[in-house]
Subunit: 234 residues, 2 copies
DNA sequence: CCGGTGACTGGAACGTTGGTCCGGAGAACT
DNA sequence: AGTTCTCCGGACCAACGTTCCAGTCACCGG
């Protein structure tokens, strides 16, 4: 038995390699967040553990607390990080409607690419990426001639709609949930006496109908916004 | 020292009172869920613990597992339970728009009365209360003459909109968050060079403007739905 | 070349959580 | 009286987020 008394300054072979000799770049907030996003993408929200995250980074779990205060920090940072992928449209020749559609669609795409994000939407989103895109949305609407109280209603309405849509879709298409959705659909058929309309026009759309429904609803909102502008033109 | 050897059949005084002689009604799923809702209302989602819940019910924590399989069950049941308070409108003389507005507004009111519910919206809602109200929504839209693909788009659009709205509002008005919202607003002013439009037309509405914005957006959606019906009349 | 300082790291440990095991008490039905 | 079913809870477990503190490294002024 190797004596425990040999202490931490024991054999060279047992000590970790010198810092400079390590392969991975040094730890940093960005690297932690990047790995957290990867971990969330691969394994889902409930598998994100400080220990697991640290293990993937090749460090001890407690080390993370030098760079971050709590696990919530990781989640907040990861949530904002993914929105960097939402392209901010350029000036489409003043076609505000196209610009807004592009932004909202991109927003939705990101949320669906990272389904774990849906469960995190209940926390304040004040990261730089989110704010920059909110800024663009507001600016585009203002330039289109939308004024209060329609301005706030439009910005919030669009955000709320995309958030709700992504949340709902992520809920029903999450890994391992398809089976549940199938079961649910069968339940409707079985209890068709109690839920006749649901059984007939089954919700829980099966395939890519999500996209169609989303686009239709988005256009309704945009129509309403457009009708409220001074000119009403595109 | 009272001998540990006296065993569980020791002094009467140490034994719990006979089951029939107890004050509280016997445990049941319904009673557990009811208490869970109360606990969530009073202390929020993160304070809901199986142990705390059991304590409030005057039982041991492990007992709960006789009536429920997991903690998720409690959450699912609690979430569905609160929707019993959403009144299903009667037949408003065929005014489908008034009926839908009433249902969606009631839905929103319940979500805001129980702010913890917003964080739970990411789970499948298949409880009887939710299904009954979905059934009513679908039926009302069908009767109004809405047909596919507008039917699914309308039902989902309305649901997603109300869910997103409640989630967002609950996020920013949660207990102890007002201070954060105030700080955020000041941040916009401070960084007004980076977020000029946000600083000017500050989002994060302060007061009851939530209601106004919600109603405007809801009307936009309803206008769009109405325009798609065969008759277009109310 | 040295000694110290501040940036980082991680093993051990704490308190709490969701959940299981199992031994039992009470009532109900033979 | 005995058996069975329903219900209860103490002891226990693995895992979690987080803190403590003893370190190790890179660098910097003498």
């Amino acid at each position: 038995m190797v004596g425990k008394g040999s202490g931490s300054a024991g054999d060279v072979w047992l000590r970790p390699p010198a810092r400079a000799a390590r392969e991975a770049p040094p730890l940093s907030r960005d690297r932690i967040v990047e790995e957290a996003v990867a971990l969330l993408d691969e394994e889902g929200a409930d598998r994100l553990t400080m220990r697991r995250l640290a293990e993937r980074l090749g460090t001890g779990s407690t080390t993370l607390y030098w760079h971050l205060k709590t696990k919530d920090d990781v989640l907040d940072l990861a949530l904002d990080a993914i929105f960097a992928a939402v392209e901010i449209p350029g000036d489409n020749g003043g076609h505000w409607r196209a610009a807004v559609t592009a932004l909202i669609s991109g927003w939705r795409a990101v949320l669906l690419e990272h389904p774990w994000s849906a469960a995190l939407l209940g926390r304040p989103m004040l990261g730089p990426n989110v704010l920059a895109r909110s800024e663009f949305l507001y600016a585009t609407l203002v330039k289109a001639g939308v004024v209060e109280p329609h301005l706030t209603a439009a910005a919030y309405g669009l955000s709320n709609y995309v958030i709700g849509s992504a949340l709902m879709q992520a809920t029903w298409t999450a890994r391992g949930r398809q089976a549940a959705a199938q079961t649910a659909r069968e339940q409707f058929q079985a209890k068709s006496d109690r839920y006749p309309v649901l059984a007939a026009h089954g919700p829980l759309v099966a395939d890519g109908d999500w996209d169609t429904s989303f686009t239709i609803g988005l256009d309704w909102l945009l129509d309403g916004i457009q009708a409220g502008t001074a000119t009403g033109e595109e």
